[in-house]
């Protein structure tokens, strides 16, 4: 059981690493990396890692789709190409998504107001606490604002697992890079 789990996680890691490196290569091909500032580089690395993680989990989960949809494609072309290549689909319905999201948010705000008015007399504080925390969690998980509770928890599970994998791989790479770096300075 445990070995199988480890096996699946290593498979996931491999997939993620492959896609991430591919994404980084796309970035390097697109831009002159030397000219980028450290923040730009950081952004590129983070974005490519996120997209790679999302694309490894893409067909199954909603958070990954949300990550894909939320990639800021306006400012530079590279991220768009990245998403398209990694996930294998085109980004077209961006405007539509934002529009529907706007409407959704508005309606949710309205609903929340109504709830607040009605729960003045509500005695259970615990329920309110849970509700507040659920709202926070919804904000944390990408695409979580459109989910119901069951779905949210399921997605959170998956998101946590894949974040773990991402962090693991990134840490390994950072360690490797760190070790490489001083040796390069020496040699």
């Amino acid at each position: 059981m445990k070995s199988r789990m480890q096996n699946s996680s290593t498979l996931l890691k491999q997939d993620f690493l492959k896609k991430w490196i591919k994404g980084l290569q796309i970035y390097t091909n697109f831009k002159k990396a030397k000219t980028m500032s450290i923040f730009e580089r950081k952004k590129a690395i983070k974005l490519s890692a996120d997209v790679a993680m999302a694309s490894t989990r893409n067909p199954m989960t909603r958070w990954s789709r949300a990550v894909m949809a939320n990639v800021p494609t306006d400012d530079d072309n590279a991220s768009k190409i990245l998403v398209e290549q990694l996930s294998g689909r085109k980004i077209e319905k961006k405007a539509l998504i934002t529009c529907s999201r706007k409407i959704l948010r508005r309606s949710r705000i309205k609903a929340r107001r109504v709830v607040r008015k009605s729960t003045v007399k509500a005695s259970s504080i615990a329920k309110k606490l849970v509700k507040n925390r659920t709202r926070v969690l919804k904000r944390l998980v990408p695409g979580g604002e459109e989910m119901d509770e069951i779905c949210l928890i399921k997605e959170t599970l998956d998101y946590i697992l894949s974040l773990r994998v991402q962090v693991d791989v990134m840490r390994h790479l950072a360690l490797a890079a760190e070790r490489l770096d001083p040796s390069e300075r020496v040699l």
């Binding site: 490196i21 450290i38 690395i45 926070v136 944390l140 773990r164 390994h172 770096d181």
Partner: protein, 381 residues
């Protein structure tokens, strides 16, 4: 007289529609048989009829008398003599008679129409029923599937149970009902049942989350658990931020040259200068043992000698305090070392499994020899 004519017109208007529809249905049949007869009769005795009467009454008569041949002539004759006033009463009678039959015919046609309609309706309802049954079956199946999932989750059984469960769908809603009912003892309407099932699902998944998130085991209560989960997710996200920042700071290029990395990784994993931890070169031995168990006796001594110069220079450049390599297997930090080498090994694992499966075995020894060469060169210098 006029009244009667009016009445007839009314009758005609009344009966025209069903009859014509009837005609419409059986048109070819009637025209083939009756027109011929009609023509024969008309040629023999009849005069051409005035006006619009002709169209329907003749047809009506022919239709009406088609079944019973004895009345055929009368039925055909009378409507055609309608225009002449003395015969009107008889004509009326006949029309009435015809009307009765027309009624029958119309009734029959209407009845057949209705029957067909009813049949259609019945078919529709049947099909609807069938669909409904299918839906209910699907629902049952869904319920079963949920049940199965629950059962499989609870018992962590294999999928073979699901197939058996699908065969006997009637058995499984029962335990669910009892199970749900046993908890509260009230509120058995569907809404609260559904709500309860939903809550159970949530709590089940929360248990999984509890297992997943570290430090969540002791906390009871949903709010606290959600707090933990939120913290964990936030910390993971921050870690990703931090690591990407770190990576961006470390290498000026964006593409990570993995081959290069792995070479260095193993090279440094073996020597383990460990600038990150600041542990001295006593990592050499375990690492070497782990990676290269075969030529232990010889290699260890030689590689120690080789390693030390590079290591020393390394440490000097990082301005870590130079430690003396005498502390070889004095290992309070052995765990850390092994952790580190394990890290390196895993990264190497990941990459090599992905790209060069055959190469990975030779891959380890290759940098080692290179490293030894470097060391020897340095020694000579």
């Amino acid at each position: 007289m006029e009244m009667s004519v009016l009445e007839r017109q009314r009758f005609r208007q009344k009966w025209q529609q069903p009859v014509t529809t009837y005609f419409g249905e059986n048109c070819d049949f009637l025209t083939s048989n009756d027109r011929g007869l009609d023509e024969m009769l008309a040629n023999g005795a009849m005069k051409p009829d005035p006006g619009m009467e002709n169209g329907w009454s003749g047809d009506l008569g022919s239709v009406l008398n088609y079944g019973n041949g004895s009345e055929f002539e009368i039925g055909n004759a009378i409507p055609r003599t309608v225009s002449c006033p003395p015969n009107v009463a008889a004509a009326m009678a006949e029309v009435a008679a015809g009307k009765g039959k027309g009624k029958e015919a119309a009734m029959s046609s209407a009845a057949t129409g209705r029957e067909s309609f009813k049949k259609r309706k019945a078919d529709r309802t049947q099909s609807l029923k069938v669909i409904a049954e299918e839906k209910s079956q699907e629902k049952k199946m869904k319920g079963c599937a949920e049940e199965e999932s629950k059962i499989t989750d609870q018992n962590s059984n294999s999928k073979s149970t699901t197939t058996t469960a699908r065969k006997g769908p009637a058995e499984f809603p029962k335990p669910d009902y009892i199970h749900v009912r046993a908890r509260r003892g009230q509120a058995t309407d569907s809404h609260s049942l559904a709500e309860r099932v939903r809550r159970e699902k949530i709590s089940e998944r929360m248990k999984y989350l509890q297992d997943l998130v570290p430090g969540c085991n002791k906390i009871t209560g949903k709010a606290g658990m959600l707090d933990e989960i939120i913290n964990y997710v936030q910390s993971l996200q921050r870690q990703v931020e931090f690591l990407s920042m770190k990576l961006a700071a470390i290498n000026p290029r964006l593409d990570f040259d993995m081959d290069n990395y792995l070479a260095k990784e193993i090279f440094l994993g073996c020597t383990t200068s460990g600038p990150t931890i600041g542990v001295s070169s006593d990592m050499v031995n375990p690492a070497q043992l782990q990676f290269n168990p075969l030529p232990q006796g010889v290699l260890c001594s030689s590689s120690e000698m080789c390693v030390n110069p590079t290591d020393a220079t390394l440490r000097r450049t990082i301005s870590a305090p130079v430690s003396i390599p005498e502390t070889f297997l004095d290992s309070p930090c052995l765990n850390q070392i092994q952790q580190l080498t394990w890290d390196a090994a895993e990264l190497q694992n990941l990459y090599s499994m992905e790209c060069q499966q055959g190469r990975s075995t030779s891959f380890i020894s290759q940098p080692l020899t290179g490293f030894l060469d470097i060391g020897q060169v340095k020694m000579e210098m």
